[in-house]
């Protein structure tokens, strides 16, 4: 049921086209090729981080990629100009290849494939989908192979930084992880997420886990297994428990310093059909949160960061195996998506004056032209651009409606701010959902609006979509 997501390809093609286009210019200016490479890398990582699209990575769609960044700064993982590590995981054979080595000493990139991966302490991981993990303790990321009936608890490493947006609660996705669909009776149907488990070496966790698991054991009457893991690096850290079907936000206890990351693991494990016990301990980690009960497939897992937002639906099946709620299916799901649960990281929008790349992805796209680079956060720039373009266009074709006039349509989450008496709400444009497109026709009857749009890019719920045609109805 995974739709082919055209967005990453589109973005990738855009990036490549642009890079090729400016290559000559750069050469003329006397800028090194390396700069161009850095630019490209930066761009890619930024797009990745923005989570505007899933599975952005060019390497293999199926392999989750981990980006390791050696510790230097706490949170500036991929924001730094140095190349970041890309670790494609999921290969059966662990191999270690170095993708790019950053020049700076602060970060280096390694490509890791296969499992298990031992991650030393103080490393920041970034998966292919852009989830960031900061590991302060030595962890081992293992891949659960469904076939081996090994369940992988999904863990999440948080580091609550001063800037919440940077933290992601998403769980790394591993393609090779196979999911076992829950049994028919699964009450909760949700996407099954399989994540490589990041084992925390803290012994305290085990205790918590045990407690958690015991709690978890109670509810599932069926053979679901609920896995929740809360790994705490510190005893004081809060613990996360994933309850079946209940999205539990792991509480990230924030220590004073950012040094201590909170490892929150929410395990939503796919259910083992056979009800085999979850052998998380296979990982060899001391704490294995995995309960021996069945997995519980959770659709939405919330991770308890305050900044974490829980998204309900998997809108876009990513190229990575998307977990689906298949309570009745017996098949193994290859991959799941955690993106919905992840917090939306607005990397490009926040305070970024320069135009950024944001390309929408569409679900029902046939083909879309590249509309341009749009900065979601900077609507004014967009408006001006659009308006200037539209002015030019309109002067050229005054009566031609069909003309590609770039227009901005915004969807208000609040449906306008008319409630404020006496004043118009000025932050009408601070919406999260933006559409930049061309219009064919916009029609209004009294307070009923009809929109016939084309060739658009939208940022909706943090995700990007592109469309060739869009029809909308609205009531004002």
């Amino acid at each position: 049921m995974a739709f082919v997501n055209p967005v990453p390809k589109l973005y990738r093609s855009v990036i490549e086209d642009v890079i090729e286009g400016v290559r000559d210019l750069f050469a003329e200016e006397g800028i090194e090729e390396q700069v161009l490479k850095d630019l490209k890398q930066l761009w890619e990582t930024k797009v990745l981080q923005s989570k505007a699209t899933e599975d952005f990575f060019r390497n293999s769609v199926h392999s989750p990629v981990f980006t390791l960044q050696l510790p230097n700064s706490l949170h500036q993982t991929l924001q730094s100009s140095t190349a970041s590590l890309v670790i494609p995981a999921g290969r059966p054979l662990p191999s270690f290849t170095t993708a790019e080595l950053g020049t700076s000493s602060s970060s280096a990139s390694f490509t890791l494939s296969g499992y298990p991966i031992h991650v030393p302490a103080g490393v920041t991981l970034q998966t292919a989908s852009g989830h960031l993990y900061k590991v302060n303790v030595p962890i081992m990321v293992t891949q659960t192979s469904g076939r081996a009936s090994i369940l992988h608890p999904i863990q999440q490493v948080f580091q609550q930084l001063g800037q919440p947006p940077i933290i992601q609660t998403s769980v790394p996705q591993l393609n090779p992880c196979s999911l076992h669909a829950t049994t028919e009776k699964s009450q909760r149907i949700e996407t099954v997420l399989q994540q490589p488990t990041i084992l925390h070496s803290g012994t305290v966790d085990r205790k918590h886990l045990e407690n958690a698991t015991s709690d978890i054991l109670a509810p599932p009457a069926n053979e679901r297994e609920i896995m929740s893991e809360a790994l705490l690096s510190q005893p004081e850290s809060s613990q996360y428990i994933s309850l079946p079907g209940v999205v539990f936000p792991p509480q990230v206890s924030q220590t004073d310093s950012q040094v201590e990351p909170v490892l929150s693991v929410s395990g939503s494990m796919t259910q083992n059909l056979n009800g085999r016990p979850f052998s998380t301990s296979q990982q060899g980690a001391q704490h294995r949160h995995m309960s021996d009960t069945q997995l519980h497939v959770l659709k939405n897992r919330m991770f308890g960061c305050d900044s974490i937002k829980q998204q309900r639906n998997t809108e876009e099946p990513s190229n990575l195996p998307v977990s689906e709620k298949d309570s009745n299916s017996q098949m193994d799901l290859s991959i799941q998506v955690t993106d919905d649960i992840n917090e939306i990281i607005q990397i490009d929008g926040t305070g970024d004056a320069s135009s950024n790349d944001e390309i929408g992805s569409t679900r029902d796209v046939d083909e879309n032209e590249f509309l341009g680079i749009i900065d979601a956060g900077d609507l004014k720039v967009l408006e001006e651009e659009a308006d200037s373009i539209s002015n030019e266009d309109s002067t050229a074709n005054s009566s031609d409606n069909e003309d590609p006039q770039i227009d901005i349509v915004e969807e208000d989450p609040l449906n306008s701010g008319d409630d404020v008496s006496e004043q118009d709400v000025p932050d009408l444009f601070d919406t999260d959902n933006v559409i930049v497109c061309q219009y064919d026709k916009i029609h209004r009857s009294k307070n009923k609006w009809k929109f016939y749009l084309k060739d658009g890019v939208m940022c909706f719920g943090g995700r990007d979509y592109v469309f060739a045609k869009a029809i909308g109805d609205a009531e004002w």
């Binding site: 005054s398 306008s416 008319d418 008496s421 006496e422 444009f429």
Partner: protein, 157 residues
């Protein structure tokens, strides 16, 4: 005119059209981009601003002249200054001047039916009735400076 003056009638004001001036040049584009609930009609050169709270539809020209129609339900609240204030919010140095009510549309319901052909005959010079054009009798009264439209059902506007 057979206005039923015996019976106390309720006249409901349905629409009020008024004009006022802002005494300053307005940048329509800016209003269109930044204002809320605006429709920019570039071909005509005006901006329509619709408000919900006081049901106002304002037509704004760049010269600063604003025509607004207010659809009032019951209150006689005049919330046109709000419109000027919203313009002020956008950064224009608006001065609220020359407020003039141009038109008021009111509906008056009569409890009886009116036979239009007879009515027209009786009020020859004034009433004009073209059934093919419009189902109402048009009756402009000079004294009140109003034009009445009398419908058969007894609704007159």
């Amino acid at each position: 005119m057979d206005a039923a003056s015996d019976v106390a009638l309720d006249i409901l004001i349905t629409n009020v059209a008024c004009v006022f001036r802002t005494r300053c040049h307005l940048k329509l584009r800016k209003i269109a981009l930044e204002g809320a609930n605006v429709i920019y009609k570039r071909d005509v050169g005006k901006v329509l601003m619709k408000l919900r709270k006081p049901r106002i539809t304002a037509t704004i020209w760049s010269s600063g002249k604003i025509i607004c129609t207010e659809k009032q339900v019951k209150k006689k609240l005049n919330l046109v200054p709000d419109l000027a204030r919203s313009l002020q919010e956008l950064g224009f140095r608006v001065i609220f001047t020359d407020f003039k009510v141009v038109n008021i549309l009111a509906v008056c319901n009569m409890p009886f039916e009116i036979r239009l052909p007879e009515f027209t005959k009786n009020n020859r010079p004034h009433a004009s009735y073209e059934p093919e054009l419009h189902p109402a009798v048009c009756y402009p009264t000079k004294s009140l400076r109003a034009a009445l439209q009398v419908f058969q059902q007894g609704v007159s506007q």
